[in-house]
């Protein structure tokens, strides 16, 4: 019998290879005869390509092939499709989707856009040739700020897309919200920036493509978090049958959304591999990653809150302009529109809400999901206006929140944004968080800050988010004669520990030893379908696929158990790894063993009859929710911020492995704190050059910049939307973190007249805000554009 249970903090089984240097990441793979590829990237933000002279490098040492737009057009390769969840403008017309080819065809539209692929015998030879390739450009005016890109007279990226407007979206009751604002006692408005950042998984992207002419078949090893969807995209681009492309992700060194997209480099390498008849390997450098990985956030919003005199919320209205880069990337148009609309208003009771969002094309790198994709933005917008309103109108920020949380009796509730909030207890989590904070003794923390000559600040940030990503997942279970049990799932762990948590679900459900489970993921030959990684779907969709497969296996096993127990199938019950009929019992282990032996099987059943695959499909997305709180000390002489405490209480429904859930929360909070204080993608507004193009310029948080967090879980309200009752844990950390820490800093500075600082709250910006007391313009970002 297995001791493994759901809810147990099992140590990770994948750790041994990672800790001893035996992980197998993309750059650790080398195929016989491989050539090396380097991408020639645009040095301009916007330019016409006059000519590409491949003869300039053809005779260089080791050069094998230069792939250009001429090849792409001659071959008739297709553009990469956007798969945005919102496809239509608010007037019903389709979004404007410019052709996104793997190589720029007529013009380049962002610094770093692929212009050619150079393939050579060695990496150094390919780098030398890529540097020497003669490309003649005529530079054009560029625009990098989405608000400016919408304005009259702005440079136009696409001749057929007026005002650079890709998608014009709205959600909610516009008239009802206007009425609520008209009837309100107070209306408060603030422009809020959600700064542009990028995921920076520590492993850069990379791939190795090969082609087998005898079978007309491609194999692609790729640092992808979404092999099935990417395979379909690459096959579509290259006009090949997806069945002719095996797509495999080895160990992947972090993703956070940045390895989700259909990128240009893999189809370029697949094409080059076929042309050369040799494997082609490409690994991005870190500097190139800043230019060419997808970026996230990057929204300028006007947030307006309507309140009654007693502080009761009446309405919320948000107007967002979001840059999406030069193309409508894989799901890029969705984030500033539908993705940011859904969870507006958080866990508060809003009778009326209205959201309008514009996805705008700019001469910048592509935007696609980054951990949370819209939910961190929505939460930040909501929590900033609530805090701002409390300060402006003289309410206690804690009491104002407490007063407006949806009471438990209100659930299930469909919000004015159409979100199905089925379960939770928001007031309870709020008080549980305040209890955690109370134990830390705020008076003592404040005294500590003041003794050091600093100002103390505290904020609490309730959040409500939702899952996403592919709704279907496959789990296949194969029982081997050597006793091992193969579990193949179409999810994609890029660090979340699915090799442990999904095996834990299987072992717990079947009552078998964890050590028997061999886990396989991210391989299109191993699972017919899979949704990869995204939207906190690993346990919610993947976990439920495993649970469903296990439950079906138990039913398949009952006739075998009945025969072993000399009973009838209907009389057999299963619990804790044991089949029982009356007083007799037999273990799942014995039944599995019998399933391999024809002599022990009932008539009509064959050895291997327990091998089983199942596809789970999520009906309605789940609603993770919780509360973050932060205490800080601000040095008003230097603008630096020190953490005195950080608390999190989460409702993720059922927790599969608390240790792994903690890891997700801690990592998410760290990314939120990084965005709030350090991280910022900055383009030069005149030239469109990326200013923050390396880890010397883009600040990632280090060990001494992230506080210890006290984390708790409330499991009293599991969702009924899926059998395991899980709500998703992967992104919540960075949904709650930004508002908690930014509002804490602003609380510390409330007596200095500081009402708002846009992220990142660098020491210089904090210091300047203190010196500029009261000078902030609440319409600073959108002006009259809203």
């Amino acid at each position: 019998m297995s001791n493994v249970k759901i809810g147990e903090s099992l140590r990770r089984v994948e750790d041994l290879r990672f800790l001893t240097g035996h992980g197998r990441y993309i750059d650790d793979i080398n195929l016989d005869g491989q050539a090396r590829a380097v991408v020639v990237r645009s040095p301009y933000a916007h330019a016409t390509i006059n000519s590409i002279d491949t003869s300039s490098v053809a005779d260089m040492d080791g050069v094998l092939l230069v792939v250009t737009r001429d090849d792409w057009q001659r071959e008739g390769f297709k553009p990469m499709p956007t798969k945005s969840g919102v496809k239509n403008n608010k007037d019903g017309t389709p979004l404007s989707q410019p052709d996104r080819h793997a190589l720029a065809i007529d013009r380049v539209r962002y610094v770093g856009e692929p212009v050619a692929l150079v393939v050579a015998e060695t990496l150094q030879q390919a780098q030398d040739a890529a540097e020497a390739l003669d490309v003649d450009y005529d530079e054009l005016d560029a625009v990098t700020d989405p608000v400016k890109a919408l304005a009259p007279g702005a440079p136009q990226l696409w001749d057929d897309i007026p005002n650079n407007l890709c998608l014009d979206f709205e959600l909610g009751d516009k008239d009802g919200t206007e009425k609520a604002f008209a009837e309100a006692d107070h209306v408060v408005s603030l422009d809020v920036l959600n700064n542009r950042v990028t995921a920076v998984p520590i492993e850069p992207r990379g791939c190795i493509a090969s082609y087998d002419a005898s079978e007309d078949k491609y194999t692609l090893y790729n640092a992808s978090q979404n092999v099935h969807a990417n395979r379909d995209t690459f096959a579509e681009v290259l006009n090949i049958d997806p069945a002719k492309l095996d797509h495999i992700a080895p160990d992947v060194g972090g993703g956070f959304g940045a390895k989700n997209s259909g990128y240009p480099e893999p189809p370029l390498c697949l094409y080059a591999a076929k042309r050369l008849g040799r494997p082609v390997k490409w690994i991005n450098s870190r500097s190139e990653s800043f230019l060419s990985d997808t970026h996230g956030r990057g929204q300028s919003s006007r947030v307006e809150l309507a309140l009654k005199a007693d502080g009761t919320f009446m309405g919320l209205r948000t107007t967002t302009i979001g840059g999406i880069g030069a193309y409508a990337w894989t799901v890029g148009p969705f984030t500033p529109t539908g993705g940011s609309a859904r969870t507006q208003g958080g866990p508060y009771n809003f009778p009326a809400m209205y959201y309008s969002g514009k996805a705008v094309l700019t001469n910048t790198a592509p935007m696609d999901p980054y951990r949370g994709a819209g939910r961190p933005e929505a939460t930040f917008q909501t929590e900033r206006i609530v805090e701002y309103a409390a300060r402006k109108l003289g309410f206690d920020p804690i009491e104002l929140r407490r007063k407006n949380l949806m009471p438990k009796e209100m659930l299930p509730h469909k919000t004015p944004m159409g979100l199905d909030v089925d379960s939770g207890d928001f007031p309870k989590l709020f008080e549980m968080t305040m209890d955690m904070v109370a134990k830390a003794d705020q008076a003592a923390l404040k005294a500590k800050a003041e003794a050091a000559g600093k100002k103390y600040g505290f904020a609490i940030a309730p959040y409500l988010e939702c899952t996403g990503g592919g709704p279907k997942e496959h789990a296949g279970v194969t029982f081997n004669k050597d006793g091992s049990v193969e579990l193949a799932v179409g999810t994609s762990s890029t660090g979340m520990g699915h090799e442990t948590s999904l095996a834990q679900i299987l072992a717990a459900a079947l009552g078998i030893e964890m050590g028997r489970v061999k886990f396989q993921q991210s391989d299109t030959t191993a699972t017919p379908l899979g949704g990869g990684h995204g939207g906190s779907r690993g346990m919610e969709v993947g976990g439920n696929a495993v649970k469903q497969a296990a439950d079906e296996i138990i039913e398949l096993a009952k006739p075998i158990a009945a025969r072993l127990l000399q009973s009838e199938t209907e009389e057999v019950d299963f619990e804790d790894g044991t089949f029982k009929a009356g007083a007799s019992s037999v273990s799942m282990n014995d039944v599995i063993e019998a399933s391999q032996d024809a002599d022990k099987l009932p008539e009509g059943m064959e050895p291997g009859c327990l091998n089983h695959s199942s596809v789970f499909e999520r009906g309605i997305i789940s609603i993770p929710n919780g509360v973050h709180a932060a205490a800080v000390a601000v040095d008003t002489d230097t603008g630096t911020v020190e953490f005195l405490g950080y608390w999190v209480m989460d409702d993720f429904g059922t927790i599969i492995n608390p240790m792994l859930a903690d890891g997700q929360v801690m990592g998410g909070v760290a990314q939120g704190i990084g965005q709030a204080f350090l991280e910022d993608i900055v383009y030069d507004p005149d030239t469109g050059q990326l200013v923050t193009g390396s880890l010397m310029d883009y600040g990632l948080p280090h060990a001494d910049e992230i506080p210890n967090m006290e984390i708790g879980y409330y499991e009293g309200e599991p969702t009924k939307k899926n059998p395991l009752g899980v709500k998703g844990a992967g992104e919540a950390g960075c949904v709650g973190a930004c508002p908690a820490v930014v509002n804490a800093v602003l609380d510390a500075l409330k007596d200095d007249g500081v009402t708002h600082i846009d992220m990142p709250l660098t020491p210089q910006k904090v210091w300047k805000a203190i010196r500029d007391k009261g000078a902030h313009d609440p319409k600073a970002l959108l002006g009259d554009a809203a």
Partner: protein, 161 residues
């Protein structure tokens, strides 16, 4: 354009075994470790010496192997993540990382462990603040550091015996 003619031979020890190899003048130590010696546990995560994924020990000191040339390691004793424990086993620091969930994707982990080992060699009983400061040259994007710090403190304790 290579550096024709300049192909020095170097001799060093890696994980206790003597090694001799011919390198280009421009070959980085991390390239020699990964590509010539096929020890792929040492990773490259950036090109500006910030991330620390390539950290190894050179004569007992933690160094970023992307920041020195292979020829500079001539005559040195190099230890990589593969050399910390016998095949299939973990030393007390590696075990502490497993116990405390001090890793997620695993890509920064070898560098983080090598840095942690050097840190506790210099300071066998560090405070939490000293650990956080000592890890400044290594970036982890997954864990938020809390569990890494807990692992290093616990690993230090185990190594003190």
């Amino acid at each position: 354009m290579g550096f024709e003619g300049a192909m020095p031979e170097i001799s060093l020890s890696i994980n206790g075994a003597p090694v001799t190899g011919t390198v280009e003048g421009r070959t980085l130590l991390v390239e020699f470790i990964r590509e010539t010696m096929k020890l792929t546990g040492t990773h490259t995560g950036c090109d500006t010496s910030q991330c620390g994924a390539c950290t190894v020990h050179l004569d007992g000191k933690a160094v970023k192997s992307c920041t020195m040339l292979a020829v500079q390691a001539d005559g040195a004793e190099v230890t990589t993540i593969e050399g910390l424990a016998p095949e299939g086993e973990m030393n007390p620091m590696q075990q502490a990382f497993n116990d405390h969930h001090g890793l997620q994707c695993g890509f920064c982990t070898p560098g983080m462990v090598m840095r942690a080992m050097a840190l506790v060699a210099d300071n066998p009983d560090p405070t939490e603040a000293e650990v956080r400061h000592g890890l400044e040259g290594n970036i982890c994007r997954c864990t938020g550091y809390q569990n890494i710090v807990a692992a290093v403190l616990d690993g230090a304790k185990a190594l003190r015996g």
